[in-house]
């Protein structure tokens, strides 16, 4: 197909546009969000070890893993959802309801294998419900998942009431508190790393992942490129549901307790991790590497503070503060990008005219 139909007198102006100096190009990766985050992580690790001699001990690092494992797991699909331009505030309620159902069924003498399958399927169902409300009825995911946040934890309350189930056998609860044989890694962290690798491949190296970014940047343009926007979003919500149910199972085993309000309020931590990872709340931007770094950063800061006997219930001050910081900082760089792109655009437009004149 030879399309030499274009007027040759129009000269290409490519050389004149946006070629930054080699030094700036070298520095660029460091200037990215993830670079800054890595720096913050290093600083918090150093700070933590200065604050408390316990901080860098193996047992403390293992505790740190335990405390953030389930949240980190939930943050992965949540990140993909935010990149696609939606949000899921029901993640912690899904965790809580899964935990409650697990407890309820255990109380009714179901076998654990069957329970786990049922709970994971339930998670998929809860995610599907969110997804269908968002994609088929076209409702804003913020409103929908505030609704299901209330609804799912409400159902957990109906299922379990004030009952607390804690007679789980050691063979299961050990998964919650012991390390993977041979390494100082909790099972939840191991699962997080496996899921993170899968999520990274999915997000950055497949057409499904590319679709997520396209949808987040411009849902309409994505649809016009043949991307099945509704299907992709529904799949993401279902994934989120399943993964949150898995987190619910791990949570129950770690505390050896199933209670209706398990995990309540953790949606904030998960959202904070995603945004701290550099994911834009408006969609279209963010990386899984960022999520891993942000999980580590948040875990370290929380852990270091607890070692200084900062009250656990007041941790919201710190997490909320981090959340605010992480949405304000990119706004500054967004502004810079905006100014730069405007300059480039005008440049291109001028070059365009110059070309036509040639």
């Amino acid at each position: 197909m030879a399309l030499d139909v274009v007027d040759q007198s129009a000269t290409a102006g490519s050389d004149a546009v946006g070629n930054p100096s080699p030094i700036r190009r070298l520095l660029r990766p460091l200037l990215r969000w993830e670079g800054g985050l890595a720096l913050v992580l290093v600083i918090s690790v150093v700070g933590g070890s200065l604050l408390s001699p316990e901080f860098l001990t193996a047992s403390n690092i293992f505790n740190l893993q335990l405390s953030i494992g389930e949240i980190a797991i939930m943050a992965l699909p949540l990140t993909l959802i935010i990149i696609s331009g939606e949000i899921d505030l029901s993640v912690a309620s899904t965790l809580g309801l899964s935990s409650s159902v697990l407890g309820y069924l255990w109380l009714h003498h179901w076998s654990m294998g069957l329970i786990i399958i049922v709970v994971l399927a339930l998670g998929a169902l809860l995610g599907l419900f969110n997804g269908l409300l968002v994609t088929r009825l076209g409702l804003p995911s913020l409103a929908v998942t505030i609704g299901t946040l209330t609804l799912y934890s409400g159902i957990a309350l109906i299922v379990l009431g004030s009952t607390i189930v804690s007679n789980f056998p050691l063979s299961y609860t050990n998964i919650g508190v012991n390390s993977v044989p041979g390494v100082d890694l909790s099972y939840s962290m191991l699962i997080f790393f496996i899921l993170a690798i899968l999520a990274a491949v999915l997000a950055h190296y497949t057409s499904f992942g590319r679709s997520i970014y396209a949808i987040g940047s411009s849902p309409e343009a994505a649809a016009y490129a043949g991307i099945r926007v509704k299907r992709v979003k529904t799949i993401l919500f279902v994934l989120s549901g399943v993964v949150c149910a898995l987190a619910g199972i791990l949570f129950t085993f770690r505390l050896s307790t199933a209670e209706y309000n398990n995990g309540s309020g953790l949606e904030l931590n998960a959202v904070s991790i995603s945004l701290l990872a550099g994911v834009s709340i408006f969609g279209g931007r963010g990386t899984i590497v960022g999520v891993v770094l942000s999980v580590a950063t948040l875990g370290v800061i929380q852990n270091a503070l607890l070692l200084t006997s900062f009250p656990q219930q007041a941790m919201g001050v710190v997490i909320g503060g981090l959340l605010l910081v992480s949405v304000f900082v990119p706004n500054i760089s967004l502004l810079r990008n905006y100014l730069r792109s405007r300059r480039l655009r005008s440049n291109a437009a001028l070059v365009d005219d110059a070309g036509s004149n040639g």
Binding site: I87, L133, L137, G138, L139, P140, L142, A143, V144, I146, G147, T148, L149, T150, L151, Y152, S153, G154, I155, L157, I158, G161, G265, L268, V271, S272, L275, I281, F282, P311, Q313, A314, M315, G316, V317, V318, I319, G320, G321, L323, L324, V327, F328, N331
Partner: protein, 351 residues
Amino acid sequence: MSTAIESSTQPVSASPVVPAERRATSLILRAREFGIFGVLFLFVLFTSIAQPRFLSLQNIKFILIDTTVFALLAIGETLVIVSRNVDLSVGSVLGVAAFVSSNLYQIDPGISIIVVFAVGIGVGLACGLGNGILVAFGKVPSLVVTLATLYIIRGLDVLIVGGNQVVANALPSSFLAVASGSVLGIPVISIIVAAMVLLAAYYLRNFRSGRDLYAIGSNPSAAQLVGIPTSKRVLIAFVISGALAGLAGVIWASYYGTINSTAGNGYELQVVAAVVVGGVAIFGGSGSVVGAAIGALLLNTINSALYVLGVSAFWDQAIAGLLLLVAISLDKGIASYLAKVLRGRSRNHGA
């Protein structure tokens, strides 16, 4: 040329179409508020048939006082949501204001009740100001800002309360009477708040600064273009929401008497639910304070009815969540129907 004009797709046809169209749209919009009223009425009817105790003076009083707190929060939340924002921090603000204000009595039992109210409102106002500045000038979505301040303010509350709590015997009877005083069986505080709701509704309908909030919520960039001081208006909406949450905190303290660091936990969701059930569009631009207050009344009535009917209180939360989902689905349906009707009429005018 004149022929071309008359044959265009634009509405140059006879005027009788216009009133009909207007009737259709206003009917639908009014139907929305009638709808909530209808549901409320049916609920009261069936519950009182099943359990006459539901309509006892005492029970009505409970419902009204509960509603009073939520209606106050709903006024502020409506201002914020109409301007295409959301304030998730109201529960935390209520909590911290309730403790800080009532705790004054533990410090100085002889303190004037006016000071107590002023401090409560002031604490709320300060929180609202913080939210407002972050949203209006930081250009960060209010969802994220107030989700963060929800936890930050609650965390600060925990730090302030420490191991303490305020108990009823530390509070003077004059303070406790604020919530319990009544005229003809109707709590005085409810009457005052009802008046505030009507005032807020009148303000939103009849003053430029009120209309500005709708304009901002309807099309933020256009609002900027016509010269509406959007940042200032949004800031003020958050300040009012905060101040009202502070006031609600003081009333809450007076009603319950025992205040620890969990006061108002989770109220933000119930308030958003009430406002949305009351017909305020979650993405701004339309809805009324009166609708939101009726929404609050409906939710509290349902909770009370479940209790009276002997349904476990465990069901409250699930029902609130479900109602919220039903309300936004319904609104979506109405909005797209309305758009279709209006567009259709616009088209029918042609040729």
